[in-house]
Symmetry: none
DNA sequence: CAGTAATCGAGACGGTACGTCGTGTCTTATA
DNA sequence: TATAAGACACGACGTACCGTCTCGATTACTG
């Protein structure tokens, strides 16, 4: 689970057995409701897009009352953050034997994710909404964006272990370049990323990163 | 002028003195209204953000009736496209003597634009809305995004003329990398771009591009 | 028309032709909407009762948007006041030749009104709601209750003209006794008023009133 | 006790020490809860009025769970009936030596009751709700309204015993006239009843009743 | 220089989604 | 079995914005 809740119960649900018995009062929240709601959210995002995604319809599709939904999430954006977070939590660095092949495969996973209709509907909308809402931005970054930085870090570490590169690198910049380029291509321009584009992109990127290190800079 | 209008009158308004045929009948549209509306749009985008930008308030701020606004633009998104297009139409490639300096200065202009509150409010929102609306996407790309590709092309041409590079390059990829990286940094993550970040970015980018060409690829 | 409006336009609609031309701006309110809404209100009051009377359903039944309804009346109670006022505005004193017969006939009209399902649904509910809402009470009294006092006054005047009685009487008290008794019987206890009950009631009432005057008191 | 409960347990609760058989199983209902709930109901009626009286708030004020309340009363109206019944159960016919003085004093008690804020909030609301709910109407009449008819009957009997009047009279009509007139004055019109009004009212009423009997009618 | 045809301001209109609130039921752990 | 606590399904609320419409009042070209 992603752990996005803002009220006490959800966050500590079933964790602290040490509690003085004051913890579990009243009817516990339905765990199935969470699953049903997040699934319905993704489905409807794909079907209707962001603007036509209605809280009421999500509730109906999930077989849940609107109230239940509002009890757990303050609004559409926060709900969608959790729904997307589940999708983005499955990315992993693939080991294909070389830095280039690792990068190609991992970036490929990210491309696949960005090409899902639910991602197309949600990601830019979330970023847009977050512009004026600091707490939302924190959630988006904390649950969707920032966790993926580890992919860059791990790929670099693995390349170090193989002896392909050494030292440290500018993970932030590389991360921005990867995510940004693909987001611009797929989400903003709405064009597909094929094998050829992907290969050229990773080539330019790795060449640039390598060159940068040879020059001694960071 | 950007020429986003969908009815005939606006496109030919006051421009072609040639055909006085059956075009101009009845009271002509106020030219000042256009200016006032677009200015009000940008101001309110900066003040309120995308979600709280209201057609009614734009009209009020521009001192214009809602009807007048709807007669010229079909909706909020189309209006904002025109408003943003005016901002993005001022970008130029600066000549600083070398490819690296040219790139640094030009990208710097783009950064400045992305950091404006109206851009922060509008750009991702437009891209998000365009996800489901092909005609909107066409407008966004045609008036805001694609025109900037020429900056990459011209910078490359100038570098060729100087003898720094030769042949052709993958303008599309480079364009995606530049815009995407900055959009991700500034609009999605909401972090500033300082001199150091900018320098590193342009270094990696140009190194990558140069390396790529030496390897014979495109 | 009852003249219940609280905004300027409705009250002065079509009255002041002397206005400086500033009066009629924008689209005028639909007069048919008023009729349709008040009719629908009475119909649904009779069908569903007060508690299950929904603003949304009134609007739907009247073929009107909820917004339109809220633009004209602040809430359910105020709407129902106007709807009832139309019903109560048709009461008249009947001339049957004698004070007793006049009273019998006029009170009979009132009984008929109180036995309508819409009145049963509305009158006590309005009075109940008005308990906490001074402005509502003012409307209820001004448009529904107080105007009927004239019936008592006119009947008394006619009896004076006939020479059956002379001087003045306590209209307020008599009015309370008539309305109150019938409201208690019909609306509170929910029992019908038949010819016999009516005759006894009017007898007791007139006898009391006459006796009171002979004793010289007011 | 009013005995509004609909399950068996409450009726026999703590009263009959006779049969300890199979009645008392599991945890017995708290007797204090009943008191606390009815008191809280009257207090909140006076504070908030009928419309803003909430079951949840009554429970909170009584220090009781909502469940407990619903186990004993089916809804807001039934609860309020019981709460009001307690108030109305204290009315008695006062012996002041003459029929007129008895009536004055007894009606005065009723006036005092009607002028309580909790009565103002509750009585018309109950009657209004009862319009569509036969079982509620039965409760209201059985516990609040009808029991007071005995006041008219007893006052008449006492007057007979004194020799002031003889025979029977139309208790129903007189009861409607008394309650109705005062309800109309106090609850519907929202005006106070002072000594003068009261005296005039009782005068007219008794004169009417007396005259009616002399004429031989009933 | 009157007629015609479009625009303009104002604001009412039919819709739709919103987020909140109250109801009455349910599901827990505890007494 | 009753209780306190609180989650739950349901449905109405009143608000806000949308995009359309209907007015009377301007403005220009046109015949």
């Amino acid at each position: 689970m992603s752990g996005s809740g803002d009220d006490g119960q959800r966050a500590t649900d079933g964790r602290t057995a040490a509690g003085p018995g004051l913890r579990t009062r009243g009817r516990p929240r339905s765990a199935e409701a969470d699953t049903a709601i997040l699934t319905a959210t993704r489905t409807l995002l794909a079907e209707r897009g962001w603007a036509d995604l209605t809280i009421a319809e999500v509730a109906a599709r999930a077989g849940v009352a609107k109230t239940t939904l509002y009890r757990r999430w303050p609004g559409k954006a926060d709900l969608v953050v959790d729904a997307m977070a589940e999708l983005f939590s499955h990315l992993e660095v693939v080991d294909r034997g070389s830095m280039f092949q690792d990068a190609l495969a991992t970036v490929g996973q990210y491309v696949t994710l960005l090409q899902l209709p639910e991602t197309q509907a949600a990601l830019l909308a979330l970023a847009s909404e977050a512009d004026r809402d600091a707490s939302l931005r924190a959630k988006v970054r904390g649950q969707v964006i920032d966790p993926q930085r580890r992919l860059v870090y791990e790929a670099w570490e693995r390349a170090c272990a193989r002896g392909e590169v050494e030292g440290e690198t500018d993970v932030d910049l590389i991360f921005d370049m990867i995510c940004g380029t693909l987001v611009h291509r797929i989400l903003i321009k709405g064009e597909p990323v094929d094998e050829a584009y992907l290969t050229r992109f990773v080539s330019v990127l790795l060449a640039g990163v390598a060159q940068l290190r040879m020059s001694g800079g960071i």
